[in-house]
């Protein structure tokens, strides 16, 4: 175990979310040994993974990266970026790589960069499936050949090993595909002999930037100092601080079980963890443990197209229609079907002001549910007509016919006979393009995590005053 401290600067919760320059500079002044960032998430839904598009803004990804790369070169310390482009598949990695190349050119930077793809060939997953080495996560249907076949992008959340291997070769920048979020922060200290469990737990908190501080922010920096038996968390903005409660509460965030956080090859066991306030907005964390799982498992993520979507947004301000909206929408649905509209499509009404946010689980509309209270009907509703069909044309047709049918539907008690909907826009209908769903969200066993998914796809790129060599 090294006797010195290891300092890490996490600029933001997700690359492209931004951070105050003053916070970042304060972090750089503390002379970090590593600047690292998580660049993605599955939270924005399956579209981004499936389509290969980023969910973050290019200009802001470039802005954030420019600060990081320039500071990394100035300090002479590694910069690690994981889950490039938001979902970490090949097109996302290429997108982020181009941005780095632009910055290197514009700033005349010299560095060596390892590029680590995390795309998993379908043949590998197919073989694992046949060998019984694929496991469903809770509520995820078993993986099928059909789901695998339709999947457009398939990645694995890689663990520490490939990133450690790249850093072990002395590169200055690591650009990785889909990565277990804490890996970006934990790989370098783990390589230098720091406790893996503490490093991963530190990464688990740092990957969200200042979200774990109070007041929390996804667009501000966090700083951690790792030593032999603890890591200390600090905010870099005088507006924020870490408290025992904020640090401990973050352990709950987006997790199913706060004591056991499963990741590639092991489980972070926090049941013996302690949090201590050191004053000045700093919190020390101790006692994290990492329990390897044998065999080694990684999480696979894949998405596939399931059709095309068209939406139409409209408002209703008529109390008579509002009172019978459910019944009217069902009647419209039936009439559209009877006219042959969208026979193979799916039609959903999102009724804001009623149950647009919670759907069927909305207790205010489901009688007899605890927590339900009686209140007056809303004076207006927002309706989103969502049509999903096999082609954009069919989705457009279903949305259009539903819109026109609802607009002029003669419901019982109607006194407003000119039209039932207020459209904020012309055109009223918006084709949304392809709709994706998660098609793979499973664990896969593997033998050699360091060389997974493959050694061949990895590259080391050398920049000399901004120019790519070789």
């Amino acid at each position: 175990m090294p006797s010195s401290e290891f300092r890490v600067l996490s600029p933001t919760a997700i690359l492209g979310y931004g951070f105050p320059a003053a916070s970042f500079e304060a972090g750089v002044d503390r002379r970090p040994d590593l600047i690292a960032v998580d660049a993605g998430s599955t939270d924005p839904g399956p579209y981004y993974l499936g389509s290969g598009k980023p969910f973050t803004n290019r200009a802001f990804v470039k802005r954030d990266l420019r600060y990081m790369l320039v500071a990394g070169r100035k300090l002479g310390v590694p910069v690690v970026i994981g889950t490039a482009g938001g979902s970490g598949a090949a097109p996302h990695l290429a997108w982020c790589r181009t941005i780095i190349e632009e910055i290197a050119r514009e700033e005349g930077l010299s560095f060596r960069m390892a590029v680590i793809p995390s795309d998993v060939p379908k043949s590998v997953v197919r073989a694992a499936l046949a060998a019984g080495k694929i496991e469903s996560l809770p509520y995820v249907p078993p993986l099928t050949e059909e789901a695998l076949e339709g999947t457009t992008n398939l990645v694995a959340q890689i663990g520490l090993e490939p990133v450690m291997a790249a850093l072990g070769e002395g590169v200055d920048v690591v650009l990785a595909g889909r990565c277990y979020d804490p890996v970006n922060f934990a790989a370098l200290p783990a390589l230098r002999g720091y406790d893996e469990a503490l490093a991963l737990h530190m990464g688990k908190i740092l990957e969200c930037g200042a979200i774990a501080a109070t007041p929390g922010s996804g667009a501000d920096c966090a700083f951690a100092t790792l030593s032999g038996d603890a890591f200390v968390l600090e905010a870099l903005n005088p507006l924020r601080k870490f408290t025992v409660e904020s640090a401990a509460a973050h352990t709950l965030y987006e997790k199913s079980d706060p004591y056991h956080l499963p990741g590639p090859g092991g489980v972070l066991d926090l049941s013996a963890c302690s949090f201590e306030e050191l004053g000045g907005g700093a919190v020390a964390v101790r006692g994290s443990r990492h329990v390897p799982t044998i065999p080694y498992k990684v999480k696979l993520e894949g998405a596939r197209p399931v059709g095309f979507r068209t939406v139409c947004v409209a408002g209703v301000r008529d109390p008579i229609l509002i009172a019978s909206i459910e019944e009217v929408l069902e009647a419209v649905r039936t009439q559209v079907r009877s006219m042959g509209g969208g026979e193979n499509g799916e039609l959903h009404f999102h009724v804001y002001g009623r149950n647009g946010v919670m759907g069927d689980a909305e207790p205010m509309t489901a009688a007899g549910m605890p927590g339900a209270t009686i209140r007056e009907a809303p004076y207006e509703l927002g309706i989103v007509i969502e049509a999903v069909a096999a082609s954009q044309d069919e989705a457009d047709t279903l949305a259009s016919v539903t819109r026109s049918t609802l607009l002029h539907y003669g419901y019982r008690g109607r006194i407003s006979t000119a039209g039932n909907l207020a459209f904020p826009f012309s055109p009223s209908d918006t084709p949304m393009g392809k709709v994706y769903e998660f098609s793979v969200y499973h664990l896969m066993e593997l033998e050699d995590p360091e060389n997974f998914p493959s050694r061949e796809g990895r590259e080391t790129v050398t920049f000399n005053k901004g120019r790519i060599e070789g």
Binding site: Y139, A249, E254, Y259, R309, M358, A361, G371, Y441
Partner: protein
């Protein structure tokens, strides 16, 4: 004498979020250790309650009490996986509403 205990008064944070695309997780961070212990010792939040509130089966809800944060976490099956056609809350960040109305007579 009976007193009314409302969750909205007892908690500092009540939130919901995806835990992956197939699960929704609800966090309640209580105001202090004493309140946490009151809720935990009486198991005022348990799988049947959450299952009833969210219209899922009891077996689809897990509840974990987490003392370091004076918190309780309930994780349940999402009605639809995140982003599936018809899903209404991709991030799952606005599903906490039903918890705000919870109250008990003690």
């Amino acid at each position: 004498m009976k007193t009314k205990l409302r969750l909205i008064d007892a908690a500092r944070v009540i939130r919901s979020k995806n835990s992956g695309p197939y699960e929704l997780t609800l966090d309640v961070l209580f105001a202090d250790r004493k309140t946490y212990e009151l809720f935990r010792d009486r198991r005022l939040i348990d799988p049947p309650l959450v299952a009833g509130l969210y219209g899922v089966a009891e077996g689809e809800v897990s509840v974990v009490w987490f003392e370091p944060a004076n918190a309780v976490k309930a994780t349940l099956r999402r009605r639809l996986p995140s982003g599936a056609p018809g899903d209404s809350d991709i991030y799952g960040a606005q599903q906490h509403g039903p918890l705000l109305g919870l109250e008990w007579e003690l």
